[in-house]
Each structure stands twice: as C-alpha cells, then as structure tokens.
Amino acid sequence: MAVRRIELMLCTGTGCVAGGAFRISEALEKEIQKQGLEKEISVIITGCNGFCGHGPLMLVQPDGIFYGFLTPEDIPFLVQEHFLKGRPVKKLMFSPPEKKEPVPLLSEIPFFKKQLLIVLRNRGIIDPEKIDEYIARDGFTALEKVLTSMTPDDVINEITRSGLRGRGGAGFPTGTKWKICRAEQKMPKYIICNCDEGDPGAFMDRSVFESDPLSAMEGMIIGGYAIGASHGYIYARSEYPLAIKRMNLSISSAKDYGLMGKNILGTDFSFDLEIRQGSGAFVCGEETSLILSIEGRGPEPIQRPPFPAQSGIWGCPTVINNVETWATIPVIINRGADWFSKIGTETSKGTKIFSLVGKINNAGLIEVPMGITLKEIVYDIGGGIPDNKKFKAVQTGGPSGGCIPYSMIDIPIDFESLIEAGSMMGSGGMIVMDEDTCMVDVAKFFIQFTNDESCGKCTTCRDGSEALHKVLTDITNGDGKEVDLEFLEEVGNAIKDASACGLGTTLPNPVLSTLKYFRDEYEAHIKERRCPALVCKNLIKYYILPEKCTGCKLCLKNCPPGAIKGELKHIHIIDQSKCTKCGTCLDVCPPKVSAIIKVSGKEMENITGIEEPYPVKRKGGKNET
C-alpha cells in the first residue's frame, strides 16, 4: 500500500456511528476525490477512543489534530482549508468551556492528556477477533520473554517489584499472592480470572474482554508459568455474551498458533484455559464463592484462611486475580517493574481503569495513573456535570464503597486515600451525583442491592441489611425518627464486625459515609419532612403557580394518571390525591412559562388551596391571582 501524506482516523464506535460517522466518511471520500487528493489522503476507520461525547470525531495524522462534532456539511470546507491550503479549521477543534482558544492537538486535550493507557492500550486500535492484530501490537512478546529468558521466580520477583496490587477490590499485592501459591507443595495448581464483575457502575472487565481479550489471557498464561499451573479458568458473568464469544474465539486462535495448549512456543510448558459462566449471583464474585461455583457446589462464601493461594479449587493451590490485574501483567513484563513502579503513588502503583457514569458529561471508561485527583477526573477528563448543575458527590467502590463529597474533590485517588475517606477503590466504578441526587436515597439503593445479593448465610449480613433498609425506607418516606440515625450507625458497625465475607463487612459503608458527610440531609428528612434534593416522592409535591400558568393544557394532556384539572386559557390545578409525582408536567411546561414547581417540607403546606380552574387574566404580562 502506498504511503499517504495524511491519514484521517475516523471513529466508528457505537456512539459516533449513532451520530452519523458513516455519513462523514462518505462526505470525506467524496470531497477528497473532488479535490484530487486521493493519492495523498486516506480515511481510516477506527474503534472507539472513549471521547464519545464529542462525536462524530476524527484525528488527523501525523499532525495529531483533533476534530469533533463533525457534520457532513462541514467536510468540503474542512478538506479544502486544511488539506489543500494547509490551514487547520479552528471552529471544528475542541474548545474548553472556560477558555476561548481551541486546543488543536488531541494529545493536549485534557480528556486524553490526563489519561495513561496501559490496560486499554489496544482499545479501539485492534480488531479483538483477530489474533494477528494483537500480535502486531507486541502481543505475546511478554510470554515469549518469560518462557525463553526468565525463571518462574524471576517472574514473581518482577511482579512483586512492580508494586502491582489486585484490581478486583481489595488491592492485595499480586506478587505476594503468587509467591504464596508457588511455595505450596500440593499439585496440581490452578489459575483463575475473575470476570464476574457486578459492582453497580462498573464495566471495565467486560470492556477488556470485548476490546482486547488476549491481553488478560496472556497474563494468565504467564501467571501459570510463574506458579506452576497448567490449567486455568475464566469465570465470566453470563450477562456478557459478547465478551464470552470473544474469549472462546481467542482461546481457539491462541491454540492454533501454539500460544496455548501443549508445549507452548516449543517449550515444555503447557497451559489450557476453560470458560465457566456465572448465573446471576453477585456474591459469586467473591473468591471463595466463585471457586465453589466452578466446583458446582453451593456458593456461600467460606471463612479464610486458608486463602485460595493455599487451598483453592478442588483444595489445590489457586491464584485468582481480576481481569484488569491479568491484563496488566504482560506490560509489566515487557516494560519492566522499574518503569511500572514509577507510575502512581508510594503505595498504589500503575494505572487504574474507572468507569465514569451518572451525572457526568463524558461518561465511559478512563484509565489514569493512580494518585490523580478526583477533581481532574470529574472536570478535566469527565468534562464536568451536565446542564451546569452542581457537583455533589462521587460514589466509588460500588456497594462496598462510599460517597465522597464535593468538599474533598482534591483527594488523590489511590487505595489508601479512598479508605481513609470512608470509601474504597473497589473495582473502579465512579457514580457521579449532582445537586438533584438525594443521598439518603442513594444509601437506600446500595442497601437494597446488598440485601438482594446477600447469600443469607450470616445473620448480620442478611438481617442487618434488611434492618438498615427498613429504616432508610422509613426516612425517605417521611416516617423517620431522630433515634434512627444512631440505630443506623450502631447496626452498621455491628454488621462490619461480624460477617463472613467482604459483602457483609463492607455493606454498611454507603450508609456510614453518607451519614458522615451528608448528615444534614438525613436530618432534614426526619425533622422537617423535607427532601433537600426534591427526590423522595412522599416528601414532595408538584404545584402549578397561578401567576405563571397560561392555560396551554400541555401538562394536562401529558399527565399519565390524569391528575390535572383545567381548560384552555384557565389556570390549571393538580389534584394532589391523584398525582403520582412522575414529574412529566414539570418537563413539558414550556421553559418560558415555567409554571410548575416542585416543593418539599414546609412549602408543601403553603400551597394555596385553589379548588377549580378559573380563566387566565393577563395584566402587565402577569396573571391575576
């Protein structure tokens, strides 16, 4: 293929395609031909780079210039200006909200500049169903290096020196785990990859297996060599069919290439992989439960020690690591422990993938060096909160974690700082909440989740979560009592101390952390029967302001239960006994009119009791009341 002067890397990820990426590519091809540039410019289709909020988008190489929000109409001008006359088009570049000057280079845009892709290095770059593409990006060079020039102890030392800690939640040092397992005498030994991801807000493991399945598998083969195992399992949740399909494809192509199976790369090391599926039980992500599930036994977690590294599947020494941990291994081997341990903080090395979801502009997966601040994540990478709303908190660590309030936005993100803040790293879900989020409601959500997912073995976890849920429900219903807050704290601490597995010991965290940082919201619910975020349905009312209503009937037509009374050009009224608080009326009332309000607490009583609709009379632009 002839080398072209310019390459246009056009994203065709799901988001950009929905935004019309293929129409952009047609327009580009057409204009390039029209200008006779087809020998100089080629359009290359790529996968998603995560900046979906700005699609359709493309990168001009080798200049590195980024264009976003493209429309087919922009293309002729763009091609003529930039590629014919050599004048990059400013108005199609990224412009940061607060500054006026656009940022031409992709590498300078905060979303990309603050990220460091190690695990996601191949995302959007390779076809995940073609092993050759993985190999072309240094795939299996780490395995080759390990098998030809390192002893198992060398491998373990390298991983230990890198400072890598498990990405599945607890952050246990990976090298140490492998060393314990290697030291066990009993044979055979096993490797397990934990892909049972279920934390609300988290989907990095799915993404790794969907976009670069062989990276985690290469890590597992290396792990097998290090501890002396020749068999491994991937335990994947059944909700991830595409990931599972790609695992299967990868296993068979790796076998075809002699990179898995008997005598890998002609050495006497053999390693096989098998996939096992979950069936919709969150607790099976816990390592002892997962092992029992593979064995086909009742998967209630069991007390450790012994740890799986000593006695795991079939009672044999087993190393179980998270998907992201496995996918990091080949890079550490290739680039060295010294390189890896320079990234991150004193105790948390390397990068971590986070999923940014909830009230955030750039929702999706990001990979950042440990130690980055929450502020950089939410504002520089996440692009801030939609609709100019106020940032209230971020929930990290799923049901085991907690809420970090706005006041702590400068906190560095690493294992220790998050625990100190009353939360934890967990698998890396970050749920961003704005001023419209009720923190008591959030706590109730997570307790509902753990109550659903508790296996029921420990009374503290099963009944404790039930008790917490009942009290939180009372509070959000407006039936809270002042003693409830003490009760939540007492029961929360008791559950922490007396449950068998991590699900139980951490389940009170969402309650305790919101109580710590948002106690005033709990108190408002209890003492004033007021939900400050205007979320809890029992504590809010919708109300039509007579002085603003124009009698357009829009709300009346859209109200699902028919709770609104009115006629054309009459002041409308909500029948509170029929209103289901769905909020539709507030959404449909034209912004210019804004006659509908949502109130809570004392204001609910102040609603003047108009009984029947009456004609709108305008005086000086306002209605008479």
């Binding site: 279920g198 609300p200 807000g201 599926q277 069936s279 599930s293 086909g296 909830g358 009230k359």
Partner: protein, 154 residues
C-alpha cells in the same frame, strides 16, 4: 411446560457427569428453555448421581437458573442506581403497558417475562435492559416500544 426428553443425557455426555458439570448442564437447559422444570432437575440429579435436593438447592441460588415458568423472551430491566437516575421507571412503565403484565409476571401466551435485575454493566449507556442475552441501551420509551414490537413480530 416443555419435555426434556434426551436433552439432559446429551448435555451430560457433553459436559461430563461430575459435580462440576452441574452448572454448565443447568445453564444450557435454561439457555434452551429459559427455566428449569422439576422434571428436568430430577433428570439431572439422576444423570449426575446426586440428590434432587442438591440440584434444586444449587439452582435456587442463582437468579438466572429460574425454576418458575418463563416466557420465550425474558426481559430483564436494570433497576440499579445509574439506570434509575436515567429513567428506568419510564422504561418499566412502557413495558408494563405494552405487555399488559407487571414486573415478575409472564404474558399468558408465554412469549414475554418481565423481571428486574441488578446492574448489567451498561451504566454509561443507561437505562439498559437485557432481552434473553441481548443488551439494549440508552433506552427511551419510544425506543423500547419499537424493540418490543419487533420481538412481537418474531
């Protein structure tokens, strides 16, 4: 209700007759028929030479190994926090209206079952649902109703 016939035997030949074969066998029966009948579980117990109580106990632990009658298409609506923040209740409303059933129920023609589930890993494209294994994301009431109409015609 369906008849298991030779299925359990075939699956046992494929996955083996050890304790660890239990889950893959049950999963494949559910993949085919969407739920487990008593007959199927007894048959599995016989093939693997374990007690029926053990089979039932294992199945009842997992939400996807359903022992209640399920329709041909099982719709699982994510009820977890991100989907909730992004309007899952409108989605449920639309589904209940279209299918004329409530959460937890199956249509009388045994085509659809509607259930809630916890996070399915599509939170950045919330609200999300699964129909059997297929994810549908960034849903609006309009999008959901087009999707369901398609399934109704299948």
């Amino acid at each position: 209700m369906y008849q298991v016939g030779n299925l359990v035997k075939e699956l046992s030949d494929k996955h083996g007759r050890m304790r660890e074969s239990l889950m893959p066998i049950l999963q494949e029966i559910v993949q085919k028929h969407n739920y487990l009948t008593d007959e199927a579980m007894v048959e599995v117990a016989r093939e693997l030479d374990i007690s029926a109580a053990e089979v039932y106990g294992t199945a009842s632990f997992y939400t996807f190994l359903d022992t209640q009658v399920k329709g041909k298409y099982v719709i699982r609506v994510c009820k977890t926090i991100t989907c909730s923040m992004k309007g899952k209740s409108d989605i449920i409303q639309t589904l209940e209206d279209m299918l004329k059933i409530k959460i937890g129920e199956t249509t009388t023609d045994k085509q659809f079952s509607l259930i809630e589930t916890n996070c399915i890993g599509w939170c950045h494209k919330a609200p999300a649902i699964l129909i059997n294994e297929m994810p549908y994301t960034e849903l609006t009431p309009e999008k959901v109703s087009t999707i369901i109409k398609d399934y109704m015609q299948k």
